[in-house]
Symmetry: C2
Subunit: 205 residues, 2 copies
Amino acid sequence: MEFSSKFIENAVNEISNLPGIGKKSALRLVLFLLKQPESQSLNLANAISQMRLNVNFCSNCHNISDVDICEICINPRRDKSIICVVEDIRDVMAIEKTSSFNGIYHVLGGKISPLDGIGPDELNIDSLVEKVQTNQIKEVIFALSTTMEGDTTNFYIFRRISDYDIITSTIARGISVGDDLEYTDEITLGRSITDRIPFENSLKK
Amino acid sequence: MEFSSKFIENAVNEISNLPGIGKKSALRLVLFLLKQPESQSLNLANAISQMRLNVNFCSNCHNISDVDICEICINPRRDKSIICVVEDIRDVMAIEKTSSFNGIYHVLGGKISPLDGIGPDELNIDSLVEKVQTNQIKEVIFALSTTMEGDTTNFYIFRRISDYDIITSTIARGISVGDDLEYTDEITLGRSITDRIPFENSLKK
């Protein structure tokens, strides 16, 4: 694309570096910003740079937080002996919304993915193993996505902590509540049969 | 959504003010930026604010330009007596790419759209009429999209300049080059028959 202004060109190039946004979409966003009051662009620019410069990670669970220890880790009513291992902050937000979990989290910051150059050392795995070694941990729950990378990461961590006297579990895979059996894919349906639970347990909800 | 950091919350809110980007996509972009070097976010923020603060419009054709008169208007090899009326900079870029037009442009900055609160006064229409009144204009080509708003804008401008001794034309609507007749919508096919051209003209390309 040839631009008649180097400011436009520069903005389009930077915006199209974001994932899922091409040059055409970036130009559309730039033209939108030009029609809005100047303050909107300045607020947007300011919010992005402030976010990148000031964001902090909880030194205990690696969740994003403005303070040194995040709200969840510092909450005295949460059970510190149960750790739920997740990939990133979005998973923390999703699980928190269910109000079904009263333990604390451990945010890995990604999944092991050799193709993308992400090995165990790039993730917050050592600090999890340390917690298991030194703290009073009763249970580690794996809550990664069921992809090849998620399973690899689960298995890698499992091998490193399986010698310690803790329970390891993984969140249940099965048919979504409200879904029809006939439209469920075979792998999910198969796992829901293999991983069946005592009927009386399902009545507790 | 509840965020564990007000910096993240602020950035997500500002990004999701952009058209076509919701809160979830905004959070995905923020997490992407957090994984990239700090410089990427700072460059992005800087490019956006610089673009908004410094961008200029050509005082002749209202195209976006870093200088007072844009490259197209200042080019002595372009025919200043033929004006192509377009909606925004994207249309200029699209027509320039074809290398089929040697006149100059007039960028309206939008279309008449009462539902969005855009009347003729919000667009660069008066300056077009002035050009027609005072300059040596031979032809005005309408190149707006064929929507209700585009047609309304075309007709409004046509009424205001039809008293002057100029040619007014509109770009041809018809079947795209390479398209099958049977898959073309009825309105386009109908117009391509009504607006048929002498066969020998089609051989000139």
